[in-house]
Amino acid sequence: MHPALHLGRVFFRMFRRDRQALIFSATFPLIFMVVLGFLRDRGPQPIEFSVTDHAANPASARLLKRLGANPLFAVTTGEEATLRERLVAGEETMVLIIPADFSGSASTELVVLVDAAQVRLADLILPALENALLEVERTVRGIEPLFVLRVEDVQARSQRYIDFLLPGILAFSLMQISIAGSGFNIVEYRRKGILKRLFVTPIGASDFIAALCLARLAWCLLQLTLLLVVAVFFLDVNVLGSYVSLYFVIILGTVIFLCLGFCVGSIAKTQQAVGAAGSLVIFPQLLLSGVFFPIVAMPEVVQSVARALPLSFVVDALRGISNDGLGLTEIAPALLGILVWIVVSFLLATRLFNWKAVVG
């Protein structure tokens, strides 16, 4: 067997035995996915909202029914005095008082009691409340609404948050495994004098790098496959596109972050330094690359930076394949970004990687 393959196999065996790293790199993304997936898929929590009905007539009943039908609210009724007390105590968000003369035949004033601290929620509730009153008014006056909105999903598929999340988690995991695999390992091997030990044998620097990259790539594919299996079979996540394309992008992404990991490992001299430098590469991308929420939700200035990050291209490509069922030609812009980053990170790694300094 070629020495590089032989060494690669040994590296793979070591990764397998490193339980601690396994827990971090495999269990964390799984927990993320399961917890976030379930939390977000339960939808927004309804706002609690209380009503005192002094009128108790068909018109007020209709208004209450309207409000009750709105998923935004959880409506309860009660006595005005108790509700006022509870509002002051901070136990109520908002109290609507329907006066005794509320009939729908004459103009009536309804009072809304709010806690000033909850004024932001009031902004959310008041338009819906006005809308409900308008509908009651229309019914009472027998007016047909002039305009009706109908929302139609052109993608004609259901997408839950967890479907959105999976490609992000895959990309994030591959970044983490790759950077940790190259950068962190090199610094540790150097500190222990293991690199020097390897280089009193006839293997070359390229054999060592190839062995480490191959082992990491295999390890990465194995862990991402595990994530995919759990996501698809146990969490019922939809992967619309082809798995071949998905794995193709995963491999390209891994190459970028292995190279960046070598850069980090070349600059950092100690284990602590490599941890800090690694975080500098990992965390901004975790926040800015659309792993947990889409980039379009960010301020414009941040967006332009965020879109240029390597992880953004990988997330974009994976999401295109997984969520929108796109083929490789349709995600060409993201692929181009990935290729540019492969070239940049490879050049950077070969420039920074000082073999003698690493060994010595």
Partner: protein
Amino acid sequence: MPIIDATHLVKTYPSPERGTFRAVDEVSLAIEAGEIYGILGPNGAGKTTTLEMLEGLTDIDSGEVFVDGLDVRRHPRSVKKIIGVQLQANEYFDYLSLTELLDLFAGLYRPRMSVPAAMLALVDLQDKAKAKPTELSGGQLQRFSIACALVNGPRILFLDEPTTGLDPQAKRNLWQLVRRLNDEGMTIVLTTHNMDEAEMLCGRIAIMDHGRIVAEDTPEALILAHAPDPSAAPLHGNIEDVFLALTGHGLRD
């Protein structure tokens, strides 16, 4: 023709105080095949740097080294095929047993020259085949690192302070191992700051200080030339021999 022929080796490192620092300064040495050659000197004398230049591990600033006729600078990989190196650092990959580590090192040479079990037997560590290096005693660890250096059946074995930190039993045991390898025809180059080791083990010694070789000869000739008159020092042997006589020669690891 000497198996190792080094001439005018120089290695300079940047130094914060003096600008540059000559770790190795015009060192020339010729080592014959089948010798046990010792480089003796205090810490910081440039022994390890000299050794690493002979091995092709450290860049040579000026001067040249030929190992078995091969220029180390031009053919480092060919040289590495015929040498075995034991380094001062004794740490290995986590999660691998002695057998797996020996298999790893053996697999880096083509063709593969050894099987782990034979290497372990050679250094008396058969019982530790499944152990991790961190579970070994100092003496066992040194023997293991020599086993690692022997996986390619080298013609020349380099040992960097092989007995530093060992107890007398482990030290004598290691000397026996070195002599045995030498009896089989292996050339051995070692560094030490232990006088006894240089005297007992080596056929020839170079004494280094401040990056220079200050004396080079057989131990006997060096003693005759530099030691005080025997009548002034009538005792034979030293306190270590007494210690060994009283505590026995058996290994304690």
